[in-house]
Subunit: 370 residues, 2 copies
């Protein structure tokens, strides 16, 4: 199964003509999962190779506008481009994010008279007060929903912190288990860990032939992990006839933060194929970055090192960092300096560093069997 | 005083890479008034010659997302680019729009933890039920505000329809009087009439010299319309020493509509220097346009003719109409066809037709004395 990540916006604070506001898409065969949706994401999507209509799930790391203000418009536009004749069978778009997101969408869609052709549900993560300074924590009064659901809204879940694992279980399906964990920022922020399930290895067809097992339904049962008893009484164990399992891939996407809360999230992210982490300002602006709940490349590198990620991808750059392609001779503040700082901090760690830029697509190749 | 209109977005329904969502700026010396603010308006502003920090007033024609979803982000970005040291003296940004706008902004800014460095106030126009089909009219329950004002919010007015004049008086200052009037659309929509006051004609300095009035404060009093009594007892009337008055300019900007409600708004717009009217679809799609509460070029032309506008400017084109510059050989649906239809409908009327495009600036020259 192919899997890749496309960055639609890599700027912090606001969208600019040279960097969109935060948004990226994790694509697996045919399905797109959108992580954050700053203003202008729908236009960035149109410019990309991705199809907005393929978005089945949305994850919002935190409620700052540069990660959220594009969501109502994106939903409206996806709906406008949906064929009304096929709308009956459209499945529900599941949206995950901090408490308050449901009210934001209900009010934004409701007051603008926005009807959608598909249902949606908002599943809210319950933040804890230690994820931000006190003034960043929304009171229950502010996030309370008034009035009835939006006509296309389905009741979403409220997901509390699983205290023993220090994470939030968002969902598990046949292919993935997706969890969230807590970050410290000016307002409560979350990281997401998308873990693909391991897949069984390939069938050893030579061995099966020798055993007299013919291609057909029995192959499928063995691959699904079932032992077989042949007509001659011989028991065939899956381990005899399967190559080694292919470990599932892991993608970790962190929202704005100056710190990961707790140690268990680092274990959760351990060995991530890709760890996407913000690097808003260079280390010479560390105090300012931390004051605003942001990270420098060194801080991002420390996280990547702690969880032995294979690749650290930096994004969410201050708009002062123009893309290298736009810099004129002699101009400073080149974004490459951010990469250099992360690389320096990751010397001898084996972690590779990539700078995200708008429309960059990173494939996530299948892992080799262990 | 120079005056011009710049279009920041001319597309309907959603922003696309070749047409921004609805937004335009009326600029007078140094001040910018923003009319509608679809998603991406802040980025369009950055690409234009205008400065977002100069926006002192915002007018929202109706609450559809393609006219509104850019407003919270725009306010945040203007604030981010404000010098905190000068923030104490910042004046209030006044925002005018339909009932419901105050709640939309309060929730959008509140849940996203958006602090502004300047105060703002939302003045709401009370729509009437005949401005839309029944389902487009927002109940008082939906628009009711909950909780306290946003920290930077100042209490705005609620502006009812002035029934005898069939319009809404938004404000009057030294230079302008601004009124709104009702349009029919899928949800209540409004048009805005910006009327510049007439200015006194130039002083006839030759006549003043003969009368023995010396340059100085007396000149100002005459220009302000005051009669003077000279030392010799001679009374000088302003009309004796002033050239003819310069009539004020008039700009009328209509939101989405399939009709103007009532006849008085046409009188209000009479002789507009510029009448900005939507033309979402060509006349061959008239039924569809009207079904969605929109206009064709002929319908826009009929309004311009009825109020004897000097120039009709068409905007809010369906995204199917690419800008002429992007069309390939043989491609249809050229936006020029929309101009042709309006011109045909305005034959012999003397009304000129202009097609708006993103970043087009139209100067509005001073009128000649009557
Ligand atoms: Zn951010
Ligand atoms: Zn943030
Ligand atoms: Zn519209
Ligand atoms: Zn509309």
């Amino acid at each position: 199964m192919t899997m890749d990540v496309t960055f639609l916006g890599t700027g912090s604070a606001y969208p600019s003509p040279h960097r969109g506001a935060s948004a990226l898409v994790l694509r697996t065969e045919g399905e797109c999962w959108l992580f954050d949706c700053g203003e202008g994401t729908q236009t960035q999507l149109m410019k990309s190779q991705l199809r907005a209509g393929r978005i089945t799930k949305v994850f919002i790391s935190h409620l700052h506008g540069d990660h959220l203000f594009g969501l109502p418009g994106l939903l409206c536009t996806v709906s406008l481009n949906t064929n009304p004749d096929s709308a009956e069978n459209l499945s529900c778009v599941h949206i995950y994010g901090p408490r308050g997101l449901r009210n934001f969408l209900r009010v934004s869609l409701g007051l603008t008279g926005s009807q959608l052709l598909f249902p949606y549900a908002v599943h809210e993560l319950e933040p804890t007060p230690d994820q931000s300074p006190a003034e960043g924590y929304l009171s229950l009064e502010m996030t309370a929903e008034h009035g009835s659901l939006h006509p296309q809204e389905r009741l979403g879940r409220s997901i509390p912190l699983d205290v023993s694992n220090d994470c939030y279980l968002l969902f598990e399906d046949k292919k993935f288990v997706v969890k969230a964990f807590r970050l410290f920022h000016r307002i409560p922020s979350f990281g997401f860990c998308i873990q693909e399930h391991d897949r069984p290895g390939r069938l050893k067809t030579e061995v099966l032939k020798e055993l007299g097992v013919k291609p057909g339904p029995l192959y499928g049962r063995l691959k699904a992990g079932e032992a077989l008893t042949l007509d001659n009484g011989r028991v065939v164990l899956p381990s005899e006839v399967l190559e080694e399992a292919v470990p599932g891939r892991k993608v970790c996407i962190l929202g704005d933060c100056s710190a990961v809360l707790g140690l268990q999230p680092l274990r959760l992210c351990r060995g991530a194929d890709i760890l996407v982490h913000e690097a808003t300002l260079g280390r010479e602006h560390r105090d300012k970055a931390v004051e605003h709940g942001h990270s420098t490349p060194d801080m991002a590198a420390a996280v990547a090192r702690a969880c032995c990620a294979h690749r650290l991808v930096l994004y969410h750059f201050s708009q002062r960092y123009k893309p290298s392609s736009l810099l004129k001779d002699g101009e400073e503040d080149s974004v490459s300096e951010l990469r250099r700082q992360a690389e320096e901090a990751l010397q001898d760690s084996g972690v590779e560093v990539t700078l995200a830029e708008d429309f960059l697509t990173l494939p996530i190749p299948l892992r080799r069997p262990r």
